[in-house]
C-alpha cells in the first residue's frame, strides 16, 4: 500500500501539484487519470523519488519514503518496478539482456537460473523466442511487454506504469491492460497506472484518482464514474458523443432497465 499526503510540487513559477492526498491499495490497479498537463507524470515521478516533493509525505507500507536517506531509498527501489511511457529499454542490450539486467545487478543466482527466470517472465508476457532481438527490432506493443517483463522480473511489491497504452492500437492496449491487471493480482502488487485511455479506466480501474490542474478533483472506481455528477470528470471521460451514449447505456443497465 502506498499512501501520500498533501503532495505539492512546483517547477519555476508553475505549481504542478497542490496538496494531493490518496491511498493506493495492494492487489489493485490504481489509476491516476487527467488531461495532459494535469500533473499525472509528475505525481508518479514524485512517488518513486525521481522528483523531490516540495511538501507532503509519501508512505510505502508504513515507511515514510520522504524521510528515508539515499541508501534506504535505494533499498526500497529494489522493490519497485516501472514501465515507462517510451519503454526505456536499453538500446545496446537484447530483450534477454534487458530483462536479465536487474537479476544480474541484484541476485547471485547462477546464469542458468537467471535465464530460466527470464524465459518464465517472457512467457508470462507472451514474448517467447524473442530473447536475442534488439529493442529496435520490436514493435511498440512488444517493447511495452519487454518493459513489463523487466519491471516484474524481481517480483516487485510496487509497479508503476506511465501511460502504458500510449501509441498502441486498441487491441494491443487491451492486451497490455489485461496483462498489467493479471500480474497485479498474481503477485499482489500495488500497481499505479497513469493513463488517459478510457478503455483502461472502465476495464481495470479499481481505484481511480482524477487530477485537474494539479489538484485531486475526484476519486472512486470504474463503476462510480458512470454515476458521477462531477462536471469536469464527465467532460474529460465522456468527451465524445459515443462515450456519452455508452454512459447512458451503462446507467440504464445498472438500473436494470431494458435498452
Amino acid at each position: 500500500m502506498i499512501e501520500f499526503k498533501n503532495i505539492s510540487k512546483h517547477f519555476d513559477e508553475k505549481q504542478v501539484l497542490q496538496d494531493v492526498s490518496h491511498i493506493m491499495y495492494s492487489g489493485k490497479t490504481n489509476l491516476i487519470i487527467g488531461t495532459s498537463g494535469s500533473g499525472k507524470t509528475v505525481l508518479q515521478k514524485c512517488l518513486v523519488g525521481l522528483y523531490e516533493v516540495d511538501g507532503g509525505e509519501i508512505i510505502y507500507d508504513g515507511l515514510s519514503f520522504t524521510k528515508m536517506n539515499d541508501e534506504e531509498k535505494k533499498m526500497l527501489r529494489q522493490q519497485i518496478g516501472m514501465l515507462f511511457q517510451g519503454s526505456a529499454l536499453f538500446d545496446s542490450m537484447t530483450v534477454e539482456g534487458n530483462v536479465k539486467f536487474p537479476l544480474d545487478m541484484f541476485t547471485k543466482d547462477k546464469e542458468s537460473e537467471k535465464i530460466k527466470k527470464v524465459n518464465e517472465v517472457l512467457e508470462r508476457v507472451n514474448l517467447v523466442g524473442t530473447n536475442n532481438k534488439l529493442p529496435s527490432q520490436l514493435s511498440g506493443g512488444m517493447k511495452k511487454r519487454v518493459g513489463i517483463a523487466r519491471a516484474i522480473v524481481l517480483n516487485p511489491k510496487f509497479l508503476f506504469c506511465d501511460e502504458p497504452n500510449s501509441g498502441l492500437d486498441p487491441q494491443t492496449s487491451m492486451l497490455i491492460d489485461k496483462l498489467i491487471h493479471d500480474v497485479t493480482i498474481e503477485f499482489n502488487m500495488t500497481t499505479i497506472i497513469n493513463t488517459h485511455d478510457m478503455n483502461s479506466v472502465m476495464e481495470i480501474g479499481n481505484n481511480i484518482i482524477y487530477l485537474k490542474d494539479g489538484k485531486k478533483e475526484w476519486t472512486g472506481n470504474s463503476k462510480d464514474i458512470i454515476f458521477s455528477e462531477n462536471k469536469n470528470l464527465n467532460d474529460f471521460i465522456f468527451a465524445s458523443e459515443f462515450l456519452q451514449d455508452a454512459k447512458q447505456m451503462r446507467m440504464l443497465e445498472a438500473k436494470g432497465k431494458k435498452i
Binding site: 518513486v48 535505494k74 527501489r77 518496478g81 526505456a88 536499453f90 544480474d104 545487478m105 541484484f106
Partner: protein, 245 residues
C-alpha cells in the same frame, strides 16, 4: 552566475558518482566495455594523426633550419621534444575530445531523453556510478596509453620522413633522439595525459547526463561539450606548463 551553477553541478555529479557498486562484476564488465570503446575505438585515428604529426613536424623543422652551422641532430631533438611535450598529449586529447567526448555526451544524452537513466535509478542503482564512473576510469587507463602510442608513432613518423626525403639519415636521426634527452619530459607529458583524460571523459559526461529536451538538445549539448572540453584542455595545458616546467 551560470558558470558557477554549472561548475557546482559538475562537482556534485562527480561526488555523486563515488559510491559502492551494487554488483562489482557488472561494473567491471562495463569498465572493460568502455576501455574497448574508448581505447580501441580511437586507436585508428590516433595512429594516423600521430604518424602525420611526426612526418609534418620533420619536414617543417628541416625547412626552418637553414643555417649550415647548426647540427642536423637538432631536427630529431625538436621533433622528439615537441611530440612528447605538446603534440602527443595535447593534440591527441583535443582530437579525443571530439571522438570520445561527443560519443559520451550523446550516449548519455540519449539515455536521459529516452528515460533509460530514470529506469536505472528506479531499479535502485546509482546511475552516476554505473554510467559515468566506468567511462572516467576507462579514459584514465586508455588515454595515457594512447598518448604513449602517439609519442612513439609521432617520433617514428618523423624518422620515416627524414629517411624517405633524405633530409638526414635515419642513423643521425636516432643519434639525435638520444642526445640531450630529459626523462622528466615524459613524466610531464603523462601528467598532462592523465589530467586531459579526466577532462575528456568527465565534462562530456556532465553535458550528456543533464540534457533536457529532445534530440536537438542532445546534438547541441554534444557540440557544447566538445567546445568546452577543448577550451578546458588548453587552459589546463597552460596551468600545468606554468606549474611543472
Amino acid at each position: 552566475m551560470r558558470f558557477f551553477s554549472h561548475f557546482g553541478k559538475y562537482f556534485i555529479m562527480l561526488k555523486g558518482m563515488i559510491s559502492k557498486p551494487e554488483n562489482s562484476k557488472l561494473y567491471w564488465k562495463e569498465f572493460m566495455h568502455q576501455c574497448s570503446e574508448i581505447g580501441m575505438g580511437s586507436l585508428g585515428i590516433v595512429c594516423i594523426i600521430s604518424l602525420f604529426m611526426g612526418a609534418v613536424s620533420a619536414l617543417q623543422t628541416a625547412y626552418q633550419i637553414t643555417s649550415p652551422i647548426m647540427s642536423k641532430l637538432i631536427i630529431a631533438q625538436i621533433i622528439r621534444d615537441t611530440v612528447i611535450l605538446e603534440f602527443a598529449p595535447t593534440l591527441i586529447c583535443i582530437v579525443l575530445a571530439g571522438v570520445v567526448g561527443s560519443k559520451i555526451a550523446s550516449e548519455l544524452g540519449n539515455m536521459r531523453v529516452s528515460e533509460q537513466i530514470d529506469a536505472i535509478e528506479i531499479m535502485g542503482i546509482n546511475s552516476k556510478t554505473y554510467l559515468i564512473m566506468p567511462k572516467i576510469a576507462a579514459a584514465l587507463v586508455t588515454i595515457p596509453m594512447l598518448v604513449i602510442l602517439a609519442m612513439v608513432l609521432g617520433i617514428y613518423g618523423g624518422r620515416l620522413t627524414v629517411g624517405i626525403s633524405g633530409i638526414i639519415s635515419t642513423e643521425t636521426y636516432d643519434r639525435g633522439l638520444k642526445e640531450l634527452f630529459i626523462p622528466y619530459n615524459v613524466f610531464f607529458a603523462m601528467m598532462k595525459a592523465y589530467t586531459f583524460a579526466f577532462i575528456v571523459s568527465s565534462i562530456p559526461a556532465y553535458f550528456g547526463y543533464y540534457v533536457k529536451g529532445g534530440s536537438l538538445e542532445i546534438g547541441r549539448n554534444s557540440t557544447k561539450s566538445v567546445v568546452v572540453t577543448c577550451v578546458v584542455i588548453l587552459f589546463a595545458d597552460y596551468i600545468l606548463a606554468a606549474l611543472l616546467l
